[in-house]
Structure formats: C-alpha cells, structure tokens
Symmetry: C2
Subunit: 374 residues, 2 copies
C-alpha cells in the first residue's frame, strides 16, 4: 500500500481504480481526524444551553460581592455538613436513588427509564420520577424486571426547587439528580457512583461542568471586587484569580449529578439564605442548579467533581426546555450575583481535575464513535 | 481543495504537482492518526520495565493468599493511619518535599533538577537527593534561584528501602517520591500536588499505574484462592474479582508518586510485618514500591490514584536500571506473593478512575506532541 500511495502522490500512471482504493480510505481517515478535532474544540455538551442563549450572561450589580475567604462568610468548613450527614447515617450507604425530573417529554423520559432499567445495575436502589406534568395523571408505580421500584411523585407546587426536595421516602444517602433528557450509560453510571462514594460524598459529582468568570476580563484580581458572569467553560474563560488557561470549572449541572441527601436537607431548610435562594429560583423560574452548587460549596469549602465514563453521556437535546428560552444566560448571570449577595460572598471553588474511567487516555476516535452511537 | 481532492481520487488528468499538494498533507494527517492510535494502543510508560522483563511474573507459591476482607487481616480501616497523621500535624501542610533517588545517572539527575528548579513552583519546599552513588562524594547542598534548598543525603546502607526512610529533616507532610529518570513537567507537578491535597492524602498519588491478576486466567473467583501475578495493566489483565475489562489498576510506582510522610513512618516502623517486608526488599534488591503500595492499602483499605497532567510525564528511559535486569518481572511476581504471605492477605485495592487535568478530554494529537517534545 505504501508503494501505491507513493505512486498516487507522485502522479504516476497507475490505474484510477488502484489510486481510488488507496486515497478513499485516506480521505475517510482524514475526515475522521478533522471531525475528532472539531468535536474536541467545540464540544457537545454546550449545545443545549447555547442554542438560544444570546451571549454570555453579563450582569453588573450595583455592588459586587467578592469570593468567600477561608474565614469570611463561610461556616467552619465542613462542620455543618458533617453534623447533618451523621443525622443521616441510618440510610443505605452503598446504593443510590435516581431522581428524574420530567416536564412533558414522555418520549425522552421513556428512553431514560428504559436505559437505566434494562441492565442490572447492582447499586440502583430506586427510581423516583418528579412528575411536573401538572394536569396529567402519572402512570402507576411499578417494579422493573431487575427488581428496581419506580415511583412517581407529583410536587405540591410548580417549582424547580421540587427536584431538590429531600423526599421523606428516600432510603439511600446517595441521590442521582437527573433530568428526563440526559443520562450516563448504565455501565458508566455504576462507575460514577463508585467515584462519588470514594472521592465525592462532600461534593456534587456530575457530568456537565459550568464556569464563572469575573466581570473584568483580563483583570486577574477582578474577583476580589466581585461581579460575576456565567459561561460554558470555553478556553478563554477562567476565574479572575485563576491562571487564565481556562482549565478550571466551578459547578456541575444538576441534570446529571450525584449528591448526598444531606445537601438536600440543607437546601430545603428554614435557614434564611436557603429560603431566600429558593425564592430567587421561583421568581426567575431558573437557576436551581446554580443555587445548589452555591450551597454545597458554601457548606464544605469544596468545588464539584466532573466525572466522565468510558462513553460520553447521552444528551437527547429535545427542542423544548427552559435552557432554550431567550435570555436564559442573562438570567443565570443575574442569579450568580443575586446568590452571592444573599450569602455575602461568592462560595464557588475552582476545580482543575476531572475523573476519567480506567487507566488509559481516551482516544479521539472514541468521541466519533460516541457521536455515531448516540 | 475538495474539488482537487476529488480529481485526484478520480484519477483525472490534473497536474501531478497539484495532486501532490493535496495528497501529501492528507498522508501526513493519516500518519499522525495512525501514530496517535499506536501510541494509545501500546502506550509509552511500560517500555522501561518491559524491555528485558521476559514475560509476566508468574509464580505459584505452595499456599496462595486471598484478598484482605473488610474485617479479615486488616486493621480497622484508616484508624492507625489517622493516628499517625495527627502526630505529624505540626508539619507544613500546603507545600511538598521532592525526594529524588539517584544511582549513577548524573546526566538524568541533572535534567530532573534543572527542570523542577527552573520554574517557580509555589508549593515546592525542598529537594532531597538520596545519593546512592556509594564511593562518590555528593555535591555540596545549594539553594536554587527561586529559593528552594537542595540537599544530598547519603544513606547508611545500600538499600532500596532508603528512599522510603522518613528523613528527620522533612518539614512537609507531603513527599514526592521520585527517581532520577522520570518527572512531571513543572506546571503539572503543581496540579498533581493539589490533587493529592484534595483527594489523595490517604493514598499514593502518582503517574505510573501497575496491575496484578490472579494466577488462574479467566477464573473470576481465582483471587479468593490467591496466587498473584504482576503485570503492566494491559487490556487483558484484570483482577480475578474485577469485571474483566482491564480497566482497573491497584498500584502506582514510587518513581513518581506523592505520599503522606506518615506512610513512611509506618514503612520504617518496628512492626513485625514492616520489618519482614523491608527484609524481602533487601534480599531481592527489588520491590520496595510494591511493599509500599501494600502497606498503604493495608492501613487504609484504599487503592492508589493515578493522575495525569496536561502533558505526558517525562521518562528518560536510561539504558541502565534495576527494572531492566533479566528476571525483573518474575522477581516482582514473587514479591507480590511473599508480601501477601507476610500480611496474611492481599491488601491491594482495585481502582477504576484516574484524575486528569482540566475539564475537557485530552485529544490524540496531544500524545503525538508530547512524544515530539520529550
């Protein structure tokens, strides 16, 4: 083949068919390379929110709020949270509950349920569907072929906070928060849960990272003055206090993230900041995931943990959803600053590492394969 | 370009020069793809030990030793270690000491020192060179341009254990164990240290993973009977109790790994198993890294953590070294079983996740670039 290739390159007179046999696969491979490159440059996970976002969520509150320090504005690190986990020690520690929030997307919900219930997932204890299809009666509860109970819960209010309610029926310490349009593949789900157990019980551990940046681009000390913007973790984005290489993230979305149930307890507590943050979420009909990230980092002083499985998670990217509303990003930028005002400081912590499955690098053609098998 | 490419493929009569302009870059890209693929399939990190290893380290002791259980053979998880870290609480917690073990490789040692001392590494407190060049006077101690002290320590004995001695002069809790022929690039070193602080103080956190497998290939329950083999984490290798997909590792080599100094205290303690394991290391003149991995996992019930930086670590792969001796792998297989006999069970824990830098997948052409810039 090398000789034939050389003759094609040299333009010598071998038959067009022989030449085609060599060059066509080459062109195919080059295309794969270019596709792999593009996938890596532009990513896939942002498409959902980016679609109708209309730019970054710039906002300029009258008074900026700087980052929380070790001693300023933050409770003694980890203490409040440690107390509350001790109160939940009676829960099952080695299994998890999957909570799926759904809103009029029966096809997508069906696919998520089919996927997670089709295989035997040793650690999946229960599935709870938060039924936001108000006016529709939910299906009856059932038990999967592998013995996993599935129950539907209709919230008392039409509120995004309801997904984060500490359901009194929960029997596991670990809750996988998810939406009806995104899921880890089953074998990866088990892996991510084990990573949560080993490394992340005091963090949010999830699939989709999000970033914030300080309002004054290029000013490395701008975060000390505190005007915050929401972004998709693009290479140019970083903390004001970061090293500017765009490697850090500071949130994971709650459409696919493990949390300890104790954080739900705190989120739904009567503490003043929690009440006010839930009110902001209801007023904006947005930002419950940002509020939850704030609360976790405020309590623990830790950032989230991004985990990727062997395969890319599946994002069905349906055409309807809050994140496709015009002005979505601006609203989220406003939330960043409102929540920081409520807490008295910006609690999010920048994180530079992500957990990957196995001991070898993923390779570019995996991304192509993932895309083809979505 | 697309039109021209099509004409080349179709064999039509455009000039050889035009054809060459199109196809040569394509061939170059294809070559890069293939190279990237080969790099991923065969990896780079194994070449050192594999070179003259002579196959996997099969050994069949008369009596096999099964894995440690939660309650069998292992001290109450983490307790002994927690006590000893409390005893070391006076040490500096947010900086690290780099301990480089050298053996007659001045060129390689010089390169490691130049690299880690050339940049300002905010967290590097001190460098200690363990001078195994017996008969040669070490150079005088010095302080780098960035104010990092470098001191040479000549061990009292010619023993591989000496690298793991808890030097009374250590002033940091974190010790980066390294050899004179391998290093993380400076910016990655800072990243790996921060990962150790956040996720790995009760683990070994390093660059090169190694695996074990039970002696009866294909028998998923063979580990319960316990005859152990050493391997390079090839796709076909896995724990007897693993899922057979070759994703797990259970050790990191101590030629580039962070440890808490408390583990060094335990390794050099007068406890019976520690004394006997050090004796095995001296008798075999090998396996100090295996012994250390055993001890850490025995004390904590946790496996190691593999961390990769933005760039591949540098392995200078010099032509002389213990790991190039004939029979090296067999000797290491024997150590696996000897240490398990000493402890009464196999303490190593399988790990499925590795930490990577940043929030985006590494891409295949990074591997090519790393290779070109070694």
């Amino acid at each position: 083949m090398t000789m034939t290739m050389r003759r094609c390159v040299g333009g010598s007179s071998i038959s067009p068919r022989s030449c085609r046999r060599v060059v066509v696969p080459s062109v195919f491979l080059v295309s794969l390379c270019v596709l792999g490159f593009l996938l890596n440059v532009f990513g896939q996970e942002n498409r959902h929110e980016r679609a109708f976002g209309g730019g970054s969520g710039t906002t300029s509150p009258a008074t900026g709020v700087p980052r929380c320090g070790q001693d300023r504005g933050r409770p003694t690190q980890g203490c409040a949270w440690n107390v509350s986990t001790a109160e939940r020690a009676d829960l099952i520690q080695d299994k998890f509950t999957m909570t799926i929030s759904t809103f009029h997307r029966p096809k997508e919900l069906g696919r998520v349920l089919d996927t997670v219930l089709s295989d035997k997932l040793p650690s999946l204890f229960e599935v709870v569907v938060v039924w936001n299809n108000f006016g529709e009666t939910p299906p009856p509860d059932f038990t999967s072929d592998h013995g996993v109970p599935v129950r539907y819960r209709t919230p008392a209010h039409d509120s995004l906070n309801e997904k984060l309610r500490p359901d009194p029926g929960y029997r596991t310490a670990a809750i996988l928060l998810s939406d009806d349009d995104v899921f880890y593949r089953p074998s990866d789900l088990e892996f991510v849960f084990q990573i949560w157990r080993e490394f992340g019980q005091d963090r949010l551990v999830g699939a989709l990272a999000r970033c914030i940046s300080s309002g004054r681009a290029g000013d490395r000390h701008a975060d000390a003055r505190g005007s915050w913007e929401y972004n998709f973790c693009t290479p140019s984005s970083s903390w004001g206090g970061g090293d500017g290489d765009g490697e850090t993230y500071s949130m994971v979305l709650t459409n696919l993230a493990f949390t300890h149930v104790s954080f739900l307890d705190h989120y739904f507590s009567d503490a003043g900041p929690a009440v006010r943050m839930r009110q902001v979420v209801d007023d904006a009909f947005n930002c419950e995931d940002i509020a939850f990230n704030y609360m976790v980092s405020y309590l623990t002083g830790r950032g989230p943990l991004l985990v990727r499985g062997r395969d890319q998670y599946v994002n069905m990217d349906p055409p309807a959803g809050i994140s496709r509303n015009k002005g979505h990003l601006e609203a989220r930028g406003q939330c960043l600053n409102d929540f920081a005002q409520i807490l008295g400081c910006m609690p999010l912590v920048d994180v530079k590492g992500r957990m990957e499955r196995g001991f070898k690098h993923n390779v570019w053609y995996k991304s192509v394969w993932d895309l083809m098998t979505l």
